[in-house]
C-alpha cells in the first residue's frame, strides 16, 4: 500500500465524517420536508419562477396586444373605453399603399444587408483563419464596430456622409473623379436606402465573421489532409469541405441578422430619421410613429401582430432548414 492510497482512504474517511456532521446538524423538520417532496415537485420549484417571468414578460403582453389589435384603443386617452372594431385595423393596414412602400424599403434593407454581410463576413473569416502575423490584432480591429452603440455609430456616420467635410464623400470622389459635394448620401432619394445598408454592413459584418470563424475553426485538419492525399484541388476542398461544414453556422448568422434587421430602428432613426420623404422609413420606425406619435395604439398593435407573424413564420422555416443542414 503506497502513501497515495493511504491519503485517499484518509480523505474519504474525513469526507464521510463531514457528511455525518452535516446530517446531524440539519434540523429534523427541514429534513422531513425535503424528503416529502417528489422529484417533480422539486423540479417545479426550480422552473416555476422562470415560467412565471416568461408568462408575465412575454406571453401576457403578446395576448394583450392581440386583444388591443381588435379595438380603437388610444394609450393617451386612458379614460376612454376602447371600442371593439373587429378586423378594421388589419384591413386599413393591409390596404395602405404607404405601409406597402415601407415594407418594400424594409425588404431592400434586409436583403442587401444580409447578402453583403454574409459575403464580406465569410471572406474576412476565411482570411483571418489563415495563420499570419498580427492575426489577433486584426481580429480585434475588425470586431470593434460591433461593440459600439448604434446611436454613436449613427452620429459618427452622419459626419462621414457630410457632403462638404465628410470622409466618405471625399473617398468616393477620389476614386470616381466626382465632386464630393455633388451628392448627398443621406439627402438623396436614390442614395439614402444604400447609406443605411452601408452603415449596417459596416457595423454587423464582424458578427457574421465571428460566427463563420467559429465554423471554420471547428473543421478538423485531418479532413483537409485526407483530401490532399486524394489530390483534391484547393477549390474543390473549399466547395466540398469548407462551405458545407460552415453552412449551419452561416445559416445561424443569417437567422440572427435577418430577425434583427427586420426590426431595425435605432441606427436608421439616428442616420436618416426615415427620410428623405419616407424612403428609409422601415416598418419599425413607422410602427413607432403610429404607436407613440399618433397614439393609435389599437392600429399599432395590429401592425405589430402582422410583423410578429411574418418573423415567426420565417424563423420556423429557417429553424427547419437549419436542422436539416445539421442532420446531413
Amino acid at each position: 500500500m503506497g502513501p497515495g492510497t493511504f491519503q485517499t482512504i484518509r480523505a474519504q474517511d474525513m469526507s464521510e465524517r463531514t457528511i455525518d456532521r452535516v446530517a446531524a446538524a440539519t434540523p429534523t423538520p427541514v429534513a422531513r420536508k425535503i424528503k416529502g417532496l417528489s422529484d417533480r415537485a422539486i423540479a417545479w420549484i426550480f422552473v416555476g419562477p422562470t415560467i412565471f417571468l416568461l408568462l408575465a414578460i412575454n406571453i401576457f403582453p403578446l395576448i394583450w396586444t392581440i386583444r388591443l389589435s381588435f379595438t380603437n384603443y388610444k394609450a393617451n386617452r386612458v379614460n376612454r373605453e376602447p371600442e371593439w372594431i373587429g378586423l378594421r385595423n388589419y384591413e386599413r393596414i393591409l390596404t395602405d399603399s404607404d405601409i406597402w412602400l415601407n415594407m418594400q424599403a424594409t425588404a431592400h434593407f434586409l436583403i442587401w444587408t444580409i447578402i453583403l454581410q454574409v459575403l464580406i463576413g465569410f471572406t474576412l473569416a476565411w482570411l483571418i483563419n489563415k495563420k499570419f502575423k498580427g492575426n489577433d490584432l486584426w481580429t480585434t480591429i475588425i470586431v470593434l464596430p460591433m461593440m459600439l452603440s448604434p446611436a454613436v455609430v449613427g452620429n459618427f456616420w452622419k459626419f462621414l456622409y457630410q457632403p462638404q467635410i465628410g470622409l466618405f464623400n471625399y473617398i468616393v470622389g477620389f476614386f470616381t473623379g466626382r465632386d464630393p459635394s455633388s451628392f448627398e448620401m443621406l439627402g438623396q432619394v436614390n442614395l439614402a436606402p444604400w447609406s443605411i445598408v452601408i452603415v449596417d454592413t459596416w457595423m454587423w459584418t464582424p458578427f457574421v465573421m465571428l460566427i463563420c470563424l467559429a465554423g471554420l475553426r471547428s473543421i478538423p485538419d485531418y479532413i483537409y489532409e485526407a483530401a490532399e492525399i486524394d489530390r483534391a484541388s484547393k477549390l474543390r476542398q473549399f466547395f466540398t469541405i469548407t462551405v458545407p461544414m460552415v453552412l449551419p453556422f452561416l445559416m445561424l448568422a443569417v437567422l440572427f441578422r435577418g430577425i434583427e434587421n427586420f426590426k431595425m430602428f435605432d441606427l436608421v432613426v439616428q442616420l436618416t430619421g426615415g427620410g428623405p420623404g419616407s424612403t428609409t422609413e422601415l416598418t419599425s420606425i413607422n410602427l413607432k410613429r403610429e404607436a407613440f406619435e399618433k397614439w393609435r395604439t389599437g392600429y399599432a398593435s395590429a401592425y405589430a401582430i402582422i410583423l410578429f407573424v411574418t418573423v415567426f413564420g420565417l424563423a420556423s422555416i429557417y429553424v427547419k432548414a437549419l436542422n436539416k443542414v445539421k442532420e446531413r
Binding site: L94, Q104, S316
Partner: protein, 62 residues
Amino acid sequence: MTKFFDGLLKMRRGPWEMLATIIIAVGVFMLMQPFVIWAFTYSFITTLVGTVMFIIVSHFPE
C-alpha cells in the same frame, strides 16, 4: 411528386411541413413585393395560415 401527394394523404409530417413552408414563403414574398397591392393585402392571411399550419403539422408522425 407521387410520394409527396401520398405523404399528404397519409398525414405525414415531411410533405405537410413542406406545404406549410411554401405557403409562408409565398406570404412573405407577397408582403414585400413591389408589383401589385392586392398581393400585399392578402399576404398576412397567407402567412398566418402557413404559420399555424406549420405549428400543427410539426406534430404529425414522421
